[in-house]
Amino acid sequence: MDEEVRIGLYICHCGLNIAGVISPEKLVAQTQDLPQVVICRHHLYTCSEAGQREILEDIEQHGLNRLVIAACSPKLHEPTFRRLLIEAGVNPYLLEMVNIREHCSWVHMQEPEAAQHKALELIKMGLARVRLARPLTERVVPLYRQALVIGGGPAGLRAALDIANAGFPVTLVECQPVLGGMANALHRTFPRGQTALSLINPMMAAVSLHPGIKVLTNSEVKEVSGHVGDFQVTVRQSLPMINEDCDRCGQCLEVCPIEVPDERQQGLSPRKAIYLPAPHAFPASYVIDQEHCNRCGLCVPACPRQAIDLAAQEVEHHLRFGSMVLATGFLPFDPQGSRYESWVAFPKVITTVALERLLAPDGPTAGQVQAPGESTPPREIAFILCVGSREEEGHRYCSRVCCPTALRQALELKSRLPQAHVRIYYRDMRTTKKDWEALYTQAREAGVLFIRGQVHEVRADQDGRVIIRADNELFQTVSADKVDLAVLAVGMVPGRGAALREVLKVPISDDGFFLEAHPKLRPLETVLDGIYLAGACQGPKDLSESITSASGAAAKILSLFAYETITLDGIVCEIDPEKCIGCETCFKECPFQAIKMVGAGKKQKAQVIEAACKGCGVCAGACPAGAVIARGFTDEMIMAQIDAALADHPEDKILAFCCNWCSYAGADFAGVSRLQYSPAVRIIRYMCAGRVHQKFILRALAQGAGRVLISGCHPPGDCHYVSGNLRALARIEKLKKKLVKKGIDPQRLRLAWVSATEGRNFQQVINELAAELKHPTEDQPQASDG
């Protein structure tokens, strides 16, 4: 490129977020005379309309062809400024975001001088990089306008219906034999007391009748590859042993010799190994519980329609989708195996889910409220809230539905058993939605007793009743009450879908739910384009919120499906045939089979298949000849950043290479969390840890870097490019041996895995490295997380 480089540098105050620690004015004074910087300004909010307009005007007036924005994380506003460049007629890839907020002002709040100096160096690194940036073209690829919905609970049903009603084919995958999810276990819903059946069943029926929706029950998603617009998905389905000829006559039930507790009835009544999972759910046929069935074969001749075949079969479906919705839901907290285990050892202590079954007309007691093992209705009933929620260890979050659930159940008990005394032990009554507070008011009016305080102990009395010992916060006393039935209001824990994490590479948060891309602005999206979240797989939600989020996720997909193509970014790799020596290293290393070898013998060269390339740069990190051009993150750009970072006092610096998806995001998260760490660190971003070539490390060490950190996603499964992190691990191990031979202290090189939510881990790693730098003579323990 012969064009003269003309850089516009803009430093953002971000209100006081940056300017509170760093002086943007001073940075402008320090940087405006740097080579090729044509214009240098600071602005209160660069991303505001006024800020953007100023940049547009400057581009026009001064003929700028490169832009450096020193502001927040590129994860936040890179798209904003790329759009701006497109508007100005400049290639959007000629932009560099210098992260002086999450990586500087927010994490060095107590060391403003060091932060100021670091910001200057970060800007110099950005300038070094942008000078070498080349325009890239985006790729337009076809979009498969079919959607996959994982999970057949209320959220999955709603999302599938919304997408299918707009005319796009949907496949719904459910791991259970029937649709409906947790809603099948519910009797009534809060706040208005409608039956769950009348709300959920019409959707279930509509989904199973919809010509545009294919339902795969008993199925699990086993493998996912591809990208937004073209996901290749493998679904494994275990075929039912009873075919659709079943007319639910129930004759098989009579002969089946196996009895197990019925999970739908929360174990309060037994069922056979051949059973109807939920009488009103779809698809409507008997199923055989493969785990408990002993293959005695008695049911086969008993079936008048010959619908039973005991040979278990599995099929694999290979499907293609443009987008998908995760609606894997939640499970109720199980007190077994927790600190509440001793409480539920008594049959008269049940959970709210079990009470829901006791209240249901199709429940184990046909709607009679009785404590298990009793024949008369309970006179004294107690609810204990916050079981499995807001714990100090374990489930720290509030599940939000337990308060209204308990209130509604208490009201129903009061109306069905007017003689009963109902008391509720609570910590805080969180009736946080519009109609919920009314439930509390009604419950008080109905005579429900509310006791604020922590329950310490639940034990059985000699006469078989339950004693509840609790603090009474109002009267500052400790109470011990005898009740006939104690109900634990259990919280919500992540459902079985969390196992999909490995398959999909969607991050999950500390509490085990899927992590949204941004808690406020992108609550329905994951960090992976084209994969959306609906319902309680993202966090505790009530039914209405689940349905709302499902409709929202469906709307997101519909706006994607409005077009036949999709534009993917221009970050892909390219191989220079001049330099390629045909060694096949990249061919073997590429995680996506995106490299093919052309020519034969000595003329053999590698070539990138662009449509398959994901731009991770693993090939570039491996190439011995430097023939791979990883667009957007070329060797030259990274070398220039290394040089700029280590120009001044390299021995005091920690040079950190962070992958875009996990480690850089983890550092951002440390910033958002205001976790303070040493300002000695300089971060270089690239797409994948597999991009790091040993020459980068050697260059950094040769320049005198105090410490070099290579960081990526946790192995083996977290890598967004299948195995880039493992490649990096192998290379670093090899290089460490080489360093010893060369007489370089291998302790100067460290490998650490940091995921997007591990801000604290990032802080710790940096502080450890900084401590090593300060006391180099002390014998530091070898890093154990490599």
Binding site: E49, S198, A205, K433, F450, V672
Partner: protein, 555 residues
């Protein structure tokens, strides 16, 4: 005409006795069949058999269309099946009357196919409206986004930071606003009033009034030279009257569109701005204009407004200058606010001791019978901001007797920066008591500095909505609390009110979509010092009374 056959669904939700209904109808000579709930496999199978075996017209007495999700229409041609919403009737007489009437009315003709306008109107330009506009526009729909204010952005634009990430509010909202304004599929109409909405799903006609800004939007570049010369100083309403502004002004620094407007109420027609404007953009004689839009669907995203605490006179809001609302507090701590981010009282003194009072207006039968769901977390966030501004200050959060905040001895890690902890004053302190009175005697407290007491005031439905809800053609149900409500089936269609074609976003339907999603945040702290029942005296950690709200001697 062939006799109409009636199928009654034995829905568990029926308020009336289905058996009695059947016998009543049979006595009237109708052919009636009672089937198990039609959305269960059994009911559906029987319904299918009936429909297949007997020709003729069918009347299905079940639930409304928002509930049955088009189920019956899938089974058979629409013309031969009509559905009567039985759940709408509470008593037998009216249900029988409705069914008899439906029986005797001639069957509907094949529904005519009417063209649907693909354009969408979004009312309200807060974060909910903007996100809806962007999602639709990206999907190729033409969107009209109207807002009655001079700029879009809504309440979120006024906030300093958002919980739980403490993201700078305008930094994450601003780019969205800019994108809305620059998107080719979005037409942004600010400073607009809606006069009338007519029509039905697929074809609404909307009459708008474009209120005069007295500044030509096409000529103004937002340079601000008019503001400099304007001699009239008025309180900035955007900064909640905490800051002076001019009579001609840009609504706020990050406003979209970034255009000036004149507040005619105060304008003295001095013409100074007309002379100062290089672009001849100012027209003091501008008249309101009307405009008509044709749209296929309407999204109401009119948001909420904070509860006005001056009605709770015991808290002295409006009387005591150091008592502010939490939205005012957001402006005070915001870098672009009246004090440029300095945490000072409206009189300009630094704040050393600060107290938050929760549940002002909320969960109060006299005012708002609901919990607003955001105030607790917002106050914790604001307390954190105070500690960021004034690391050695003292912050107290006074929570109601069964409110959300306290108890948890730890909070999510990101709220507690390490170094602050090292300096001993890491957290706000919580006290459980109902604040019964706030006297101006705050000044006579033993501490040297003044306190500011922001009140976590609660959201109540936006004013505008009352009027809009009564427009012809709307069937919006307005419960007592005047938030828009979803139609029957709170769960089935929380976004779908009765009128059809409407969707709800943001606060107007629920609190929790997008903007103010309360985070699953649980803060718990063992009470410092005694909390005496009845909310008489509350003491802080150091044993000193931190608020004089309840002591008779102070009143």
């Amino acid at each position: 005409m062939a006799k109409v056959k009636i199928i009654v669904c034995q829905c568990p939700e029926l308020a009336l006795d289905a058996q009695a209904l059947v016998s009543w109808l049979e006595r009237g000579g109708a052919e009636v069949q009672l089937l198990p709930p039609l959305c269960t496999p059994d009911g559906l199978m029987q319904l299918r058999t009936r429909l297949a075996s007997q020709t003729g017209e069918w009347l299905i007495a079940a639930c409304g269309p928002e509930r049955h999700a088009g189920l019956f229409q899938r089974l058979t041609p629409v013309a031969v099946v009509r559905v009567v919403d039985l759940l709408a009737y509470q008593d037998l007489e009216s249900a029988v009357a409705a069914l008899t009437l439906a029986q005797s009315t001639p069957s509907q003709p094949e529904p005519s196919i009417a063209p649907v306008s693909p354009e969408v109107l979004i009312v309200g330009g807060g974060v909910g409206g903007c996100q809806a506009a962007l999602d639709l526009a990206r999907g190729g729909h033409k969107v009209y986004l109207v807002d009655r204010a001079l700029s879009i952005g809504g309440i979120m634009a006024q906030l300093d930071k958002t919980f739980p990430t403490l993201d700078c509010s305008i930094c994450i909202l601003g780019p969205k606003l800019v994108e809305v304004a620059s998107h080719p599929n979005i037409e942004l109409l600010t400073y607009v009033g809606i006069d009338r909405i007519a029509g039905q799903t697929g074809h609404f006609v909307v009459d708008l009034t474009l209120k005069p800004r007295y500044v030509d939007m096409t000529k103004c570049v937002g340079c601000g030279s008019c503001t400099e010369v304007c001699p009239i100083i008025v309180p900035s309403r955007w900064d909640l009257d905490l800051k002076p502004s001019k009579c001609i002004r840009i609504w706020f620094a990050q406003a979209v569109p970034l255009r000036a407007a004149i507040d005619k109420e105060y304008c003295i027609d001095c013409q100074l701005c007309v002379k100062a404007c290089e672009h001849q953009a100012i027209n003091l004689a501008e008249e309101p204009q009307s405009r008509q839009l044709t749209v296929g669907a309407i999204i109401l995203a009119t948001g909420a407004r904070p509860f006005d605490p001056s009605i709770k006179s015991e808290y002295g809001y409006g009387r005591i200058p150091t008592v502010v609302t939490n939205l005012e507090y957001e402006r005070i701590v915001c870098a672009s606010g009246p004090t440029l981010g300095g945490l000072v009282t409206p009189e300009g003194r630094p704040v050393q001791r600060l107290a938050f009072i929760q549940c002002v207006g909320s969960r109060d039968r006299r005012f708002l019978p609901y919990c607003s769901g955001y105030c607790c977390t917002a106050s914790i966030k604001e307390a954190m901001l105070a500690l960021e501004h004034q690391p050695d200050g003292l912050v107290f959060i006074n929570v109601g007797n069964r409110c959300c905040i306290p108890w948890n001895p730890h909070c999510p890690a990101f709220f507690w920066p390490g170094p602050a902890k090292a300096r001993r004053i890491s957290r706000p302190r919580y006290a459980r008591a109902a604040a019964s009175r706030l006297g101006s005697s705050i000044c006579s407290m033993p501490c040297k500095a003044k306190s500011v007491a922001p009140e976590a005031n609660n959201l109540s439905p936006d004013n505008d909505r009352g009027r809009r809800g009564r427009r012809p053609g709307r069937k919006l149900q307005r419960p007592g609390r005047r938030f828009f409500d979803g139609a029957a089936g709170h769960f089935l269609g929380p976004q779908r009110p009765g009128g059809g074609g409407h969707l709800f976003f943001g606060h107007c339907g629920h609190f929790l979509i997008r903007g103010y999603r309360p985070s699953p945040f649980a803060a718990r702290q063992p009470p410092h010092g005694p909390v005496v029942g009845g909310g008489r005296v509350a003491r802080g950690a150091g044993g000193s009374p931190f608020i004089t709200l309840c002591r008779r001697s102070d009143l």
